[in-house]
């Protein structure tokens, strides 16, 4: 096949002949690498929790502290917010500004519900004398679950900033790229939460 034919079809050309990838692909891949490195932070915290989960120093054990119904509602909130965030990302691809605002607002509301449920759980635990300073197990618990909650909270701050930016800048390519990266971040947090509810809450003994 002649070189011209290859260029015309695009797909048969070796990668190295095709020039730089579009910004959207490069930005997405870079953000994907960041997400994987963020997951390594959680891996370290999971390892610490798994090692320390039995070290209660005579304090309350995991199985006495956690309310599974509470955790189930938190999980459903986060799952639903992942889906609404996906619908928001699709609205961005269509250029449908109104649908984007609607779905992202729902995502934000579900995120607020999740974080406030987690905050109420933390405050009742601390009030009952099961704060992070009680035992090594509780230190590891508050660090792991708190880091996830902090990620969700910062994600929501990021989303609010993005929505304000869209209001003033419109859905220009840079904005749709940022919203796309936010979506990746939000889905990755959901994956981390699967680990949290399985190991911390359901694996409690």
């Amino acid at each position: 096949m002649s070189m011209e034919g290859a260029i015309a079809s695009g797909e048969d050309m070796p990668l190295s002949f095709q020039g730089p990838a579009p910004l959207r692909v490069v930005a997405g891949f870079g953000f994907w690498l960041f997400l994987l490195s963020d997951i390594l932070i959680f891996a370290a915290l999971f390892a610490a929790y798994a090692v320390l989960s039995g070290e209660t120093a005579g304090g309350p054990k995991a199985v006495e502290l956690f309310d599974k119904r509470h955790v189930f509602i938190e999980t459903v909130c986060l799952l639903a917010s992942s889906v609404t965030c996906g619908f928001g990302a699709l609205a961005v691809l269509r250029g449908d500004l109104r649908a984007m605002y609607l779905w992202m607002m729902v995502t934000l509301a579900l995120g607020v519900a999740f974080v406030s449920m987690e905050a109420s759980e933390f405050s009742t635990m601390v009030a009952a004398g099961a704060g992070p300073s009680r035992s090594a197990f509780l230190s590891a618990f508050f660090t792991l679950v708190g880091t996830h909650g902090l990620h969700v909270s910062l994600g929501m701050v990021w989303l609010v900033i993005l929505l304000l930016q869209v209001r003033s800048l419109g859905l220009q390519p840079a904005m749709s790229r940022r919203l796309f990266c936010f979506g990746l971040f939000w889905h990755a947090l959901d994956i981390v939460w699967i680990g949290v509810f399985t190991i911390v809450y359901l694996g409690a003994r």
């Binding site: 050309m13 579009p22 930005a27 891949f29 490195s37 599974k68 889906v83 699709l90």
Partner: protein
């Protein structure tokens, strides 16, 4: 530009090319809810043999993570996703390395350590 993007690889995330792009999220949600309910059931039921329950929970969690990767992050085995999959594989490798490595070393240390009573009897 767009066909070049396809030839050069895609970043994880929604695709504008599938016919019903919203379906992926709904199918993913259905699977994820089913697996979540199964996990909560497995943790509270007595019909699963006790020592096997953690294994069942781990399997359900890994399955759900896979569902999220495929239906929400749209990671696939397509040739244009090789970079994403390789990065993911490395991430999973290091994650497993950290978690299982720590558990292995710490349980071994626990075994090798003298118990509190023995320590106190020496100090006396």
């Amino acid at each position: 530009m767009e066909h070049l993007a396809e030839a050069q690889g895609r970043a994880p995330g929604p695709s504008r090319h599938s016919r019903h792009p919203g379906m992926s999220y709904l199918v993913g949600l259905a699977y994820a809810i089913a697996l979540t309910v199964a996990s909560f059931w497995a943790s509270s039921t007595t019909s699963v043999y006790g020592p096997a329950a953690p294994v069942l929970l781990a399997v359900l969690a890994i399955a759900q993570m896979g569902i999220h990767l495929v239906f929400f992050l749209h990671i696939s085995s397509a040739p244009d996703q090789t970079n994403n999959v390789l990065a993911l594989a490395f991430g999973i490798f290091v994650t497993a390395f950290i978690i299982f490595g720590s558990l292995l070393i710490m349980t071994h240390l626990n075994h090798a350590m003298m118990s509190m009573e023995q320590l106190q009897s020496i100090q006396r």
